[in-house]
């Protein structure tokens, strides 16, 4: 854990001005009140590029306080360049304490993973969302998809999944796998692997999702029912590996496949670096 530092002068705490934070908090409150519903918000330009986590950054900036401890991960790892860059952004503009330890963090901003260490009540997960609309590949028009959500008209998604099974024998969505929230709204969990979908269901932590470029916010309040779409005869299943982590020996974590030489030799290790390091310690 890195102790709080002095925030850079010349910026408001956590970069955003207070009016903008208030606007985003209003959107967050609405999102929490209607789990899984995409709330439009007037996203701002951030000093980091769109598509690189600006939605998550705006959400984090709006909920973070001086006493928070922030963890930022990308692909499960704390040391990937974009995670480092975002963590530095908040260390610089908010002066908050940062950590790589999942259990120590009060706010965890993430791209593409949910930590392996179970989350606790009081923790906030902030997801960076590239495309918030679960129906986007089926219907490119926002005017149409908003109506489909209003009418809970999700037949097209079930047909898509059915067609996968008819053609390929299984559902071919491997990440950003659609979930039904509180039996009402279809939601994209952001591009986390299927492996992480069960961690969303009735989690004690608050889950906030920010899509900066698309200007949408949505949320899962603690203990919300989150069901990955499936069929009775084709139940939802997560990825499985025949090996354990070759570093820490974990039998139960999401493994990255790493090519270690020119002959294509592979090594499997945990994608969650904090989890892996914790098991090694």
């Amino acid at each position: 854990m890195n102790a709080p530092v002095k925030a850079e002068a010349g910026y408001n705490f956590a970069y955003l001005d207070e009016q903008t934070k208030r606007m985003i908090r209003r959107a967050l409150l609405k999102a929490v009140a209607v789990p899984g519903y995409q709330v439009p918000f007037a996203g701002r330009e951030m000093p980091l590029p769109y598509g690189w986590g600006t939605g998550g950054i705006q959400v984090t900036a709006s909920v973070i306080g001086p006493d928070d401890t922030l963890k930022v991960i990308d692909q499960g790892a704390d040391d990937t360049t974009n995670a480092v860059s975002i963590r530095r952004f908040f260390a610089k503009t908010a002066g908050v304490a940062t950590t790589t330890g999942t259990a120590e963090a009060s706010i965890i901003q993430t791209r593409h993973r949910i930590p392996e260490t179970p989350l606790k009540a009081g923790q906030i997960m902030v997801f960076q969302v590239p495309i918030p609309e679960p129906l986007r590949w089926l219907e490119p028009r926002e005017t149409v998809t908003r109506r489909m959500h209003a009418e809970a008209d999700y037949g097209a998604m079930h047909v898509k999944l059915y067609e996968d099974i008819a053609r390929m024998g299984r559902i071919t969505t491997s990440y950003d796998y659609p979930v039904m929230v509180n039996r009402r709204y279809l939601m994209r969990p952001s591009p986390i692997p299927r492996f992480d979908n069960p961690k969303l269901d009735r989690s004690p932590a608050l889950m906030l999702f920010g899509a900066g470029r698309e200007k949408r916010i949505y949320a899962l309040p603690p203990h919300t029912l989150v069901k990955s779409l499936d069929f009775e005869d084709h139940p939802f299943a997560i990825e499985r590996w025949t090996q354990r982590c070759q570093r820490c020996g974990a039998p139960d974590s999401f493994l990255n496949e790493i090519v270690v030489d020119d002959r294509g030799t592979r090594r499997f290790v945990c994608s969650d670096t904090d989890y892996c390091d914790g098991r090694m310690a």
């Binding site: 590029p49 690189w52 593409h112 390929m168 990440y175 470029r213 949408r216 990825e239 499985r240 999401f254």
Partner: protein, 362 residues
């Protein structure tokens, strides 16, 4: 241990240091000043201000310098700065009819009240490299710059629209504030004020291509340039405690009005309809492209069939912003190995099924 995209803080710091060195280039060559960029690369400055949504010549020049001449990066720098600025007051609507004209042409009437005025245009230059410019001093350096012109000339559509042949510019209804794309998230269908704001900040290249597509038959709208005018316009604000408007300065603008054939509909007689473009400085290509796309996006409200990409509001407006587009395209550089691992795992299973099916069939 594999470290391809890991590497963290030291790598980022080293990359930034190298970037700064590359930006400066050969240190034996004199460094560019902001004044030089502002004065001698003024059209680059104009584009950065237009798409950056901020009229500040020096900051735009600084952004160009910092971005090593990468225009989209410079626009990004200016836009990210703009979003931090407090909003003190809204200006009064500018009156482009009162523009101090430097350039003004019409392609629909040979003679117009006030006359045609070419101004500083590339239009009739022969695009031959001028090797004299490669030298240190310019022969014209001792000739003084002509004073900024002062004439105002009436707008062509104001003068010639009286018969009702050209659609009158719509006035905002009293008390109705125009939309603000920086404060309100986009929804569709979009009113014209919001569309025009989005187009004004839209990428010049994207709008140029979209406008061009309408000329080649994808949503043809038969355009004519009624007028292009460039010059300085006063900006006024009316502080509530004052009760009247005061001029706070001038900005340079290029305005383009296109007129387009319109067959008429149940509610509207046949007439010329208009497309409107406005950009900071001398961004004429941008203003013209914007006018073409504005007209083409009016298809739905004018009762025309929407068949082409340039007529499709969601398609055009959702993809016109180069910060959105550049960020999302370039985010593909970020690590995706978790998603890719999931895809690999799935693909291996599907291939195993495929092999098993074929073996069973044999």
């Amino acid at each position: 241990m594999y470290v391809a995209v890991k590497g963290g803080e030291a790598a980022i710091d080293a990359a930034h240091e190298l970037l700064a060195k590359r930006r400066r280039g050969d240190p034996s060559v004199p460094e560019l000043s902001i004044d030089q960029i502002r004065e001698q690369m003024s059209l680059a400055v104009d584009r950065v201000m237009t798409e950056g949504g901020l009229y500040d010549l020096n900051l735009a020049a600084l952004a160009i310098k910092q971005a090593r001449g990468d225009m989209v990066e410079a626009i990004f720098l200016l836009r990210a700065y703009r979003t931090t600025l407090p909003r003190l007051i809204d200006a009064e609507p500018i009156e482009t009819g009162g523009m101090r004209i430097e350039r003004r042409i019409s392609a629909v009437f040979k003679d117009i009240p006030g006359g045609q005025q070419l101004g500083p245009t590339f239009d009739y230059t022969h695009r031959l490299l001028d090797f004299a410019l490669a030298g240190e001093s310019e022969p014209a350096a001792d000739r003084p710059l002509p004073p900024t012109p002062g004439d105002t000339k009436p707008r062509v559509t104001d003068v010639l629209g009286h018969e009702g042949l050209i659609e009158a510019a719509t006035k905002a209804e009293d008390g109705v504030q125009p939309g603000d794309i920086t404060r309100t998230p986009p929804t569709f269908p979009t009113p014209r004020d919001v569309r025009l704001q989005t187009l004004a900040r839209g990428d010049e290249g994207f709008l140029l291509g979209m406008g061009y597509s309408t000329q080649r038959g994808f949503g043809h709208s038969h355009p004519f340039v009624a007028e292009i005018r460039k010059g300085h316009v006063a900006v006024e604000v009316a502080p509530p405690e004052l009760g009247f408007a005061v001029e706070i300065g001038e900005i340079e603008l290029t305005e383009c009005e296109m007129v387009n054939q319109f067959k008429g509909s149940e509610t509207t007689p046949p007439q010329f309809t208009s497309g409107y473009g406005l950009a900071f400085g001398g961004s004429e290509r941008k203003a013209m492209s914007m006018a073409l796309v504005d007209r083409s996006l009016r298809a739905a409200e004018l009762g025309e069939e929407v068949t082409a990409p340039a007529q499709d509001q969601e398609f055009v407006l959702s993809h016109a912003d180069n910060l959105d587009a550049s960020g999302f395209v370039q985010h593909l550089k970020l690590p995706h190995y978790v998603d890719f691992q999931s895809e690999l795992e799935l693909l291996r299973r599907i291939r195993a099924d495929w092999t098993a099916e074929r073996e069973a069939a044999e």
